[in-house]
Amino acid sequence: MKAVLIVALKEVQEGLRNRWVVASSALLATLALTLSFLGSAPTGSVGAEPLDIVIVSLSSLTIFLVPLIALLISHDAVVGEVERGTMLLLLSYPLARWQVLTGKFLGHIAILAFATMVGYGVAAASLPLTGASITARSLTAFAAMIASSIALGGIFVAIGYLVSALAATRGAAAGAAIGVWLFFVLLFDMALLGVLVVDQGAIVSAHMLDAVLLFNPTDVYRLLNLAGSGSVGALAGMSGLAEASALSAPALLAALAAWTLLPLGAAGFAFARREL
């Protein structure tokens, strides 16, 4: 366990030194602030909680940005160290391969958690400046949004490791990581939408749609945050989907956990088999 923590700390240290932490926090904070200030303007008559509006906009931001940041910091984790020769060195120390991977995972999660909490926290903290009041319920939903954003980041860190453990070169890993991002964030939903429009409910039932949505972690995240609480759901226009969906919050959380553990396990397996 100690070795895992040592590796995790080194990852955080490198993240701080390489400005990953600063850059991703600043990026998230800037965009979050922009969204929360722009978003607070037109709400006057809707009667929605100001923080709920922020949650809706930040969730959409998360779906685009957090997987990208996660893949950027993780796709290099195995193949990069192998190419630089430091993996060979590291594994000559009293340290097993799974410990290297787990340590890196914890370190990268810590970086993402810090960036998300700072970036989105700034946005939430600035709301009272616009004269808005915040209810406790919205605050809980906001905290849940941040937690699930970190979880979404963790999923893509794990997927990044799998890519990294399988890729022969760093370039291949970077290319595959971009492909993964495009697929889950853009193409999957577009294709799904296309199918639904053509199908008009003839073949694809609500249950089938549920099942299909579970195959994309960003959709699981979306269902969890946007369809979850009543006021947020109404605001996001997701309540229709949420009512038809049989997926409860625990089921969605289980899906997020599975999406983290399966790629991480597969990455560990691929890394263990990799010839160095």
């Binding site: 070795a3 040592i6 080194k10 240290q13 490198e14 030194r17 390489n18 630089r84 020769g85 430091t86 060979l88 060195l89 590291l90 594994l91 000559s92 120390y93 009293p94 340290l95 097993a96 010839e275 160095l276």
Partner: protein, 304 residues
């Protein structure tokens, strides 16, 4: 003397290619061994087997009393390894880098500063590795290998890219380690510089061990003639040649220098006779076959 490394008839195949082909090798306590061979001869594979990164297809390996593939932490802690061309993270400082490795080996943090001092990086320890020269990076690599008082040091091409002064420093540190009872294995193809440092030379070629012995033993086995150079007084070259009865088996290097290749048996008599010509001969140099020549000899013997 105990064996720190015991390799018995080890075979490692990568697909159809046999990287290590029935190699047996024993490294005893306090021994400095040069492992020599072409690129791709199997040197690095052998090191990876000793570290336990890969498992042998046949044969057994014991390193510091345990099978390296089990990853026994106690043995790993006493093993120092410097990989070929390691690129440590350029964003961290020298001290941060070494502290990280020290923590992994459970080594006292205070030793880090002393170790950096020892490899001559004391002043540069607060600078980022990215600003280091090649020599400094290599010394940082050596410093991490020296963590935790290793009983076994595996150095893969440690001196490539170092200038002669740094190389000398490098071998000085290796000598100190040897005197403390550490077993050192140096992989290299720059043989000449290991003369006087290596107790034993092991030559590998295409995964097979083709020679193993002290430099003197190998010289005897190879019986490569020694080179003798004579420098004569200007204009006396021809007279010296006739006097010594040289008939074409020698080389004229320039107007005043001749080079003769002689076996061990002929050498002493020849030097004696040359020395008698003190009016004509200004200088006599005896050059024993260098490690490079020995290496070439053994490789040729295999190819024929």
């Amino acid at each position: 003397m105990t064996a720190h490394v015991q390799i018995d008839a080890v075979v490692k195949r990568y697909g159809p290619r046999t990287a290590v082909d029935h190699i047996s090798l024993t490294l005893r306590e306090g021994e400095t061994v040069a492992l020599v061979g072409h690129n791709g001869a199997g040197k690095t594979t052998l090191i990876k087997l000793m570290i336990g990164l890969i498992r042998p297809d046949e044969g057994t390996i014991r390193v510091l009393g345990s099978d390296p593939a089990t990853g026994d932490a106690k043995a790993r802690r006493r093993l120092g390894y410097l990989p070929e061309n390691v690129a440590l993270n350029p964003a961290l400082t020298g001290r941060e880098t070494l502290s990280f490795y020290a923590r992994l080996k459970n080594e006292d943090r205070r030793k880090v500063a002393a170790l950096l001092e020892r490899v001559g990086l004391g002043e540069a320890s607060a600078r980022r590795v990215g600003t280091y020269s090649k020599g400094m990076r290599q010394r940082l690599g050596l410093a991490q290998a020296l963590l935790g008082k290793p009983k076994l040091l595996l150095l893969d091409e440690p001196t490539t890219g170092l200038d002669p002064a740094l190389r000398e420093q490098f071998y000085e540190i290796v000598r100190v380690m040897r005197n403390e009872g550490c077993t050192v294995l140096i992989c290299s193809h720059a043989l000449a510089e290991m003369e006087g440092c290596a107790d034993r030379v092991v030559i590998v070629d295409s995964g097979r061990k083709i020679a193993d012995g002290s430099i003197d033993e190998l010289r005897r086995i190879a019986s490569i003639p020694a080179k003798i150079r004579l420098r004569t007084v200007p204009g006396e070259l021809r007279r010296v040649e006739t006097h010594l009865g040289l008939n074409g088996c020698h080389k004229r290097l320039d107007d005043t220098t001749i080079e003769v290749n002689l076996t061990l048996a002929e050498k002493v008599r020849f030097v004696h006779r040359a020395a008698a010509l003190e009016d004509q001969v200004l200088d006599i140099d005896v050059l024993p076959p260098s490690l490079d020549e020995l290496y070439a000899h053994f490789l040729q013997g295999r190819r024929m």
